[in-house]
Amino acid sequence: MSGEVRVYGGWRDDLGLRVIPSKRIGKDVYEVFIGPQHPGSGHMRIIIRVDGDVIVEADPDIGYVHRTMEKLGEIRGWIKPIPLFERMAIHDACNITLPYVRAVEKLMGVEAPLRAKYLRVLLCEINRIASHLYGFAIFSIFLGHSTMYMWAMGDREVFIQLAEELTGARLTHSYPIPGGVRRDIPQGFPDMARRAVRYMRKRLEEYRKMFLENPVIRSRLEGVGVIPKNLAAELGLVGPNARGSGIAYDVRIIEPYEVYDELDFEVPVYTEGDALARTYVRVEEIAQSLRIIEQVVDWLEKKPREPIVDESIYKKYPPLHKKILESQGRAKLLPWMATMKVPAGAAIGRGETGRGEIIYYVESDGGVNPYRVRIVTPSARNVIAFKYALPGHRVMDLPAIYGSLDYFPPEADR
């Protein structure tokens, strides 16, 4: 990688292994508790200690929306965790649940048919755009830019409706199931998708004019919250935050799951590592997701009439369900799935959600419940960035950095 990383906020490139210890209170330091009941905190608390207007220490205190996902995952069978896990980030439902489904598929030894894979990718990319737009909206209201907030929230509706058309649910789709997906595309969907793509391309241009090239916004973001490449690697940041720091890492190319290796798309990487770079990564990713949606829709249109669930599962369908699947394209969940047993073993399933890499470690002892489901969400890995990126910045940079990290507390707390 070329491109010099500019270092701001007192960071040195040789930061290396230094761990910042907490509770380092000096003289004349003012302690401010930001959150959890604060318009700019989300469901978390950041305890910052400020010297004058400069943050000297930040201590993220999370867990306010912890929902015991890992424990509940151990007592609810193999299928029910799917709708459970997507509650972590409902606007990113398919991306969040797909890695779990893939881990279970690995253990079961089944594989989704090609058409189901394309359908999964389609919903993943729709979710990714919606997730980025949501993050964008929150980010801009943090910076006081209400117009961008309303635009992004409004345009997110386009993709939510698209997902609704595809799955029947606006947010919590529960779309992928082990061995396939639950629905085929309805008639007229390709046209809708193409319309959404055209619309969003036009809007991205307007975003650029209104927000990204707005002098006030640029002065707030440029050179703020710089995370150099080696620090980002050291902290294990994921997703757009890592790619904004020059790390070319995206699960879609590292471990091309589903059909990502057959699609033509780029992974944008910016080397500056500041808030603006992270913002640009998200905008570029929206554009790339639009490209993917176009390709997937073209493929789906060309090759109709292919199965959307795995052969081994289809064989167990009763005749009525087979009829529904063939006439309406809807794959019903079968009763045996609620109590199915999965061969013993351990598998890691991972995927690239809107906010970065998500990892499921799924262990089975051959029973009706998972023995252990370990979930590491992207926000849970990004939260450490607060501790390292905030010190040295002014208090007014806090919302800019928070927003640019696109941190989502319900996802981090699990």
Partner: protein, 186 residues
């Protein structure tokens, strides 16, 4: 400034994950052998766990770090009450080394369930800090030398019960609580 951006395509092109995993695995094994740490292998689907002794875990971690595994993706703990053991696995991978980037290798130790204690690896991998706190509250594993070992997600009262251990049973609230199972099922 944004003109300085680069495309990742070509840097890390699409490739088979199995090859990356194989490369990462052999790299990790070599690194451990070089520092004379004995290990056993546990295979998983999509990753591999190298199980080492608690006493040599810091040396092993330093060797892996030096071999290019620069961050922790997950500190995974699993409770095995029958074997009276808790397994703690540091699943690590690399960002900066394109050859092994993404290949997940686990550095695992088995701890006695009664008094699980091990040295903290936060001084080796900064990214483990919050995850070790999580394992501490959910499993009660004590990490010696952790800079700031306190519960992360749970309130202290709940953290004392170590809810992810298998003997913590989730009591479900119901108005039929106490009614014998046989009566409920009819």
């Amino acid at each position: 400034m944004v003109e300085a951006r680069e495309r990742a395509e070509g840097v890390v092109g699409p490739r088979r994950y199995e090859e990356v995993l194989k490369a990462a695995r052999s790299r990790a094994e070599e690194a451990l052998r070089a520092v004379g740490v004995s290990f056993s292998i546990e295979e998983g689907k999509g990753f591999v766990d190298l199980v080492v002794d608690v006493d040599s875990v810091v040396r092993a971690a330093e060797a892996l770090k030096a071999a290019g595994f620069d961050h922790v993706v997950s500190v995974t703990a699993v409770d095995y009450p029958k074997r009276k053991q808790i397994k703690v696995a540091y699943h690590v991978t690399s960002y900066l080394d394109p050859e092994i980037a993404g290949g997940i290798v686990g550095l695992a130790v088995y701890l006695p369930r009664a008094s699980p204690e091990m040295p903290s690896l936060t001084s080796v991998w900064v990214s483990a800090e919050f995850m070790e706190r999580e394992v501490y509250e959910f499993f009660g594993v004590h990490f010696r030398g952790h800079p700031d070992l306190r519960p992360l997600l749970l309130v202290p009262e709940l953290a004392e019960k170590h809810p992810l251990r298998k003997d913590f049973v989730v009591r479900e609230e119901s108005i039929y609580e106490g009614v014998p199972e046989r009566v409920r099922r009819g």
